[in-house]
Symmetry: C2
Subunit: 341 residues, 2 copies
């Protein structure tokens, strides 16, 4: 449907003002207005003033679809995460959205859910919108990977460090997290750990790292339990119930998220167990609640904001046309000793 033409008389109230309207009002060419908008300092001060007035007078709002089409830069980035509730990625997204917004870029949210086929769809949607970058927490299957190779923007994998990432990666070593936790708990004198793992690749890798190190240090068998993704508060009830049916109660439960850890503490306390004396609990992610819980939760701090900032820096760098400075940016992690373990 073409908007009404009104060639005969100028009735600008009908449709949105365009660059041409502004240009006409300021008696300059559209090119100059465009330049003013994108790079104000190249137009003369007096001209800039006239343009500014014309914009205010017309109430002009640039059409970024048109701009994007012409420049093939959309000023959008697509952020792909599995879900939103109780998500460990929230800090990252929050920072991402805020920092990008202040640079005039917006975030396209893609929820990949648990189904990997959704990831492909979302990537396609993002590519169709010609986003400048795709930032994804999802590990890529071979088919998705092929898709990504054709993506002209920057692909950034976050919250993990695959050894051969498509595009670049900003994250940390999950295996090392697992190892460090194992060492820490063994030093603290725990002997019968229970690993509660969500069925995702990353959590799996942490668990593997844990078991590897635990046994290398002479620890015995490591009990394991599974929870659905995402690992959340509500899962604790079942885990705890199952645990009580075990032949020998674990002395420490290693959780895949602080939410789950919190849940276990609540369950343990409700059952009359003292934490950490009778049951220690360890979390992951250092979300705000970990420091506020009673007892405070021993956990692993991941600087989600920093991940976002590094990703953004990479996008900016990429925009200059330069090749990436690094294929892989390790933001590390920090074990935070608190009361719960």
């Amino acid at each position: 449907m073409r908007p009404a033409k009104c060639k005969r008389m100028n009735e600008p109230s009908t449709r949105n003002p365009t660059l041409d309207d502004v240009a006409a009002l300021a008696s300059v060419s559209t090119a100059t207005v465009s330049r003013y908008l994108n790079n104000p300092k190249v137009v003369a001060a007096a001209t800039a003033e006239r343009i500014r007035e014309a914009i205010a007078q017309t109430g002009y709002i640039p059409n970024m679809l048109a701009g994007g089409l012409a420049s093939s830069k959309s000023k959008m980035v697509s952020v792909l995460i599995p879900h939103l509730t109780d998500s460990i990625f929230n800090d990252t997204i929050q920072t991402m959205a805020e920092e990008l917004a202040s640079a005039g870029t917006t975030v396209m949210l893609g929820l990949t859910g648990v189904a990997p086929e959704r990831t492909d769809e979302m990537i396609l949607a993002a590519m169709g919108r010609r986003v400048d970058a795709i930032i994804s927490t999802a590990p890529l299957g071979p088919q998705t990977r092929e898709l990504v190779e054709r993506f002209p923007g920057l692909f950034i994998q976050i919250w993990e460090l695959p050894e051969d990432p498509p595009g670049i990666a900003v994250g940390f070593s999950h295996r090392d997290v697992g190892r460090d936790v194992a060492r820490f708990l063994q030093t603290r004198g725990y002997r019968r750990p229970l690993l509660v793992t969500a069925e995702g690749t990353r959590a799996r890798i942490r668990s593997d790292g844990f078991v590897e190190e635990w046994q290398a240090l002479g620890g015995g068998d490591v009990a394991q339990a599974q929870v659905d993704i995402p690992s959340r508060f509500g899962h604790a009830r079942r885990i705890f119930a199952d645990m009580r049916r075990m032949a020998e109660l674990p002395d420490v439960v290693v959780c895949g998220s602080d939410y789950l850890a919190q849940g276990l503490i609540v369950e343990a306390q409700a059952a009359g167990l003292r934490v950490p004396d009778q049951l220690a609990v360890m979390g992951f992610g250092n979300s705000a609640l970990a420091g506020a819980m009673r007892p405070t939760i021993t956990t692993v701090d991941i600087d989600g904001s920093r991940i976002a900032r590094e990703a953004i820096a990479a996008i900016r760098h990429h925009a200059t046309g330069a090749p990436p400075l690094a294929r892989s940016i390790d933001v590390g992690f920090r074990l935070i000793e608190r009361e719960s373990a």
Copy 2:
């Protein structure tokens, strides 16, 4: 920067395939391919098949910027919320993103934070991208409102029902929530409530409704405390500490969110108080943790998913060109009696 031209020979590998490439390969006009893409049933079956093959062969990905420019429908909706962490809106956004994605529409995320001037920026950005709808949880100031009047798409205010919304509203009456909670707690025999309110308009309205009804029913004074926005788990520590310094301890604490309620329960228990016997706690939002906490949290259920679905239905309806069916859609709320109060 114009992409390399390669007029001389056809080297399609250089640039993204376009509609023309597909059309050429399928020996039809671009118009037909476009029609196939947007409304498959208007093209003949045989033609459709050829086009399908051509698309597969070229690996064509439609440029939605171009499409949006031409049709002035971007297939994007902007969702404006204050923040992501511990957010009561997460269910709404989650549902929104999922349902919209399956209809080929994507969500532009806008975090308005606590600063209302950010809201204007985000709305401007959304309008610049010609989104089909703007869905906002933020109450609008007069200036923003003026902006919104000029928005050609559908503006939807969610999680509240102002009497004269710009566009349409999907939500419920916060005042009624306050009233119902007051009545409920008085019936349960509580006498000394403490209202913990986050400093936002909506929470304020709930509190006012509470006080109004509480006193109408012959209840006495209502103690109040303030927390920063967003009302979250970590705030509980301070609130509880302040509370203990009160001349007379409240017998029930009414919280602005389940997260805060959970925090208070944890604090109370850590201090040796039994919940709800010595201190009752009430939440708001019925997030997943409310049912999983020990004790389970009495709260007010808001169907966030339904809010999302109603909003989407309104968008679909709006897309047909028909005027809105209703300016205001009340999704109601439900008081959920559980153990904590």
